[in-house]
Amino acid sequence: MKFRRGKLCAWIVSLLIVFGITTPLPAQTRVAIGVTETMETFNPYGDSVSLLYGIWCQVMGCLGTYNFDKGDYEGMLAERWEVKDPNTWIFHLRKNARFHDGSPLTAADVVHSFNRIRTDPQSKQKQNIAPIASAAAIDNYTVSFTTKEPTAPLLEYLFDRFIVTSKAIYDKYGADVADRKYPIGAGPYKFKELIPGQRFVIARNLDYPGMKEKKQAPDEMIFRIMREPEQRVTALLNGEIQIAQFIPPHLRDRVEKHPASKIAPVDAVEIMFLAMSPKFKPWDNLLLRQAVAYAIDRDTIIATLLKGEATRLDGPIGAGQYGYDPNLKPKYEYNPQKARELVKQAGFPNGVDVDYYTPVGRYTLDKQISEALVPMLRAVGIRAKLLTPEWATLWADVQAGKTPFYYMGRGSVVDPSVALSQYFETGGSPRIGYSNPKFDKLLAQERQTFEPAKRRKVLAEAMSLLTEEAPAHFLWRHQMLYGIAKNIDYKPTPSGRMFGTEIRVLR
């Protein structure tokens, strides 16, 4: 019996050694994130929302990203880049970049990706390569992009947006099979599972350079669709998810008071403004537009309605956004007396009646904010009538340039060049209908200024002119609140992208 027991023990010990059970394996860490965007397509180019750009960037790989802490761009697949001449950008790829199947990522893959973004019928990302006329592989690890005209803010278009996919897999299987069956990328995370309408799962790629050192990055990330804020908060407090996107202000307390969760705020890169289209009367009157800017008490709205969860804008952009100048002039302080005088000087001694449009439920407390703005405007003689059309109607009218005075947001403003051009440059879009040759000239100049310090200066001059002219009164950037489990260390980014490499699981 003794012999048998000894033999049994020996067997067990041998088995434990053979199967490595004596040294406990580190537990897999899994971070589930409740997100608001729906995820439906296997095509990395089939959607154009910030969250999915972030996920595909991690799986397939992106040329680069914007580092909000540094306030500058940094490479991912591209290790460096240069402007050869005003119309030619050269990107040098990392030579150790490899797809998850071990094959090297080359310039041919980048050119293929450019062509696919441009020609894939499902592509919703054509706007990201709009300034580029052509792409060419110079050698295996060097790509050149030729722009249609000098475009200094090209990185704003490409970084965090330009997803690189494998040419070889595409050529072998075609778009649909390649996307569905072989989602093999070269990013720091690998594709694990996508169930349309439910979840997207990615797993850590230890072969990615520097990934082994990031020991606290989650082994798996599960993006779960939870469109309702109550769902996300309940799931967070129930331990089903570890990060909940976009907690509305009224649910903040529930998250903060729970012992296992916390709130992490971040200033979004979405700028909120009041548009006053100068192509409509009475908004062709500069003094009236400026009166609006003086009439609105942004600080009170931020402190009361928004409970401090917004950052005031003095100019089109704020801290952390490219080209931000804290000394930008003019700064419109709340001054109803001055606003009243400006209304009179504008030729409206008895005040003026205007229609004011606001979306409902599109932006944080949009309707409530607009309801607070109306009496402020009325107090200075601008009798605003609040109109609340359904979003689809309002947006169609705004895009067609049919709405004279409205509350709106413009998202994804890291480098403001594109947004400024789209809303305020002559011919940019009919949304506001502002036209000023001096402003157009400044924008054209900044696009052709490749030296960053000089470009920032020109941008600041353009933004100062725009603030002075007030075709839009810039209000604030909302703070986005993220609910986060206390065992997770994560600082949300203003753009809403969620990189696993920026998440630490505290074991």
Partner: protein
């Protein structure tokens, strides 16, 4: 009966056509351009025009409708603007989730409402009747979105017994090929996956079925009560049959026609209710797909889904008609 059913089936075609025409017209009449809603804010006007052209939105509405309807006859409901996939594929991928949810909701509703209704009808004004009436009124009165949120707060938020939203746990879920998680897991004998599927289904199914419970319970009660006074029931009792036998064999079988009729109608209501319930519970079925389609003015997707809902409703009603003949042999077609 086959001829009758075929006739009825053919008769539904104009109804379905009319529905698609109505939905198509309403969608196009509603303000909001799909191209500007679906493309990125940074998209230029040329891309918007190109998308409109690609989706056929540059053509007259009647041309778009004729193209849709002629393709629909071949089973092609077009491609979704939002998801750039065939609408039939999108529906097929999401339908199993809705079917499983609706089936469990119906089972729960029938399992609660009929026994309770029969019991209440057989013993009017007893405590069982009062309880049944209360349950019925509760089910009828509660808006399902409110009930869903309350269940989430209670069972997920407070007691942490059930998951708050979604359909399955990553790594546990069973058969994903067919889309029928519960049935697939049951067939495969994958018990952890069965448990997982049920954990996710129970709250949405209860929410979805609550209204049906209320109405069915009330109908069953009144129908049983009415039949209980028929002479053949009195005769059965006079013959000395046990109460259970009288109620289940003589009363219920004769009280079934109104119950089945209302159950059929309620199935239609349940399908429309699933749109809200799926949103509340982040359930990835056709209801939540319809919400996405409507908010993004995805004309082919919305028209395809409404057509599917209408066809389902018609088929259910047809099945109910067929059931009449089985329940009551006196009914002939």
């Amino acid at each position: 009966m086959t001829a009758y059913l075929l006739r009825r089936l053919l008769g539904t075609l104009p109804v379905l056509l009319l529905i698609t025409l109505l939905v198509f017209a309403l969608l196009h009449a509603a303000p909001g351009d799909p191209a500007s809603l679906l493309l990125s804010d940074a998209t230029n006007e040329a891309d918007v025009l190109e998308a409109r052209q690609r989706w056929g939105l540059d053509r007259p509405v009647h041309v778009q409708y004729l193209k849709f309807i002629s393709a629909a006859f071949t089973g092609d409901l077009g491609r979704s603007f939002r998801f750039a996939q065939p609408v039939t594929e999108l529906i097929a991928a999401r339908l199993p989730a809705t079917i499983e949810l609706a089936a469990l909701a119906v089972l729960l509703a029938l399992g609660v409402a009929i026994p309770l209704g029969v019991w209440a009808g057989a013993r009017p004004n007893s405590w069982v009747d009062n309880l049944g009436t209360s349950v019925g009124l509760f089910g009828i009165s509660m808006p399902n979105f409110w009930m869903g949120i309350m269940l989430i707060l209670l069972f997920a938020g407070t007691f942490h017994l059930l998951p708050s939203a979604g359909r399955s746990t990553y790594g546990v879920a069973g058969s994903q090929e067919s889309g029928f998680y519960l049935l697939g897991s049951l067939a495969a004998g994958n018990w952890p996956a069965v448990k997982d599927a049920l954990m996710y289904m129970v709250m949405p199914a209860l929410t979805l079925g609550a209204n049906m419970v209320g109405i069915l319970m009330r109908i069953t009660r009144s129908s049983v009560l009415e039949v209980s006074h028929e002479e053949y029931v009195v005769t059965a009792r006079a013959k000395g049959l046990a109460q259970r036998s009288v109620v289940w064999r003589h009363v219920l079988s004769n009280a079934l026609i109104p119950i089945v009729t209302v159950a059929g109608l309620e199935l239609g209501t349940l399908l429309s209710g699933s749109i809200i319930v799926e949103t509340v519970f982040a359930w990835p079925g056709v209801g939540s797909l319809l919400i996405t389609g409507v908010t993004s003015r995805d004309y082919p997707l919305v028209t395809g889904l409404v057509l599917m809902y209408a066809a389902t409703f018609v088929v259910i009603n047809l099945a109910i008609d067929a059931l009449y003949a089985i329940i009551d042999p006196r009914i002939r077609y």
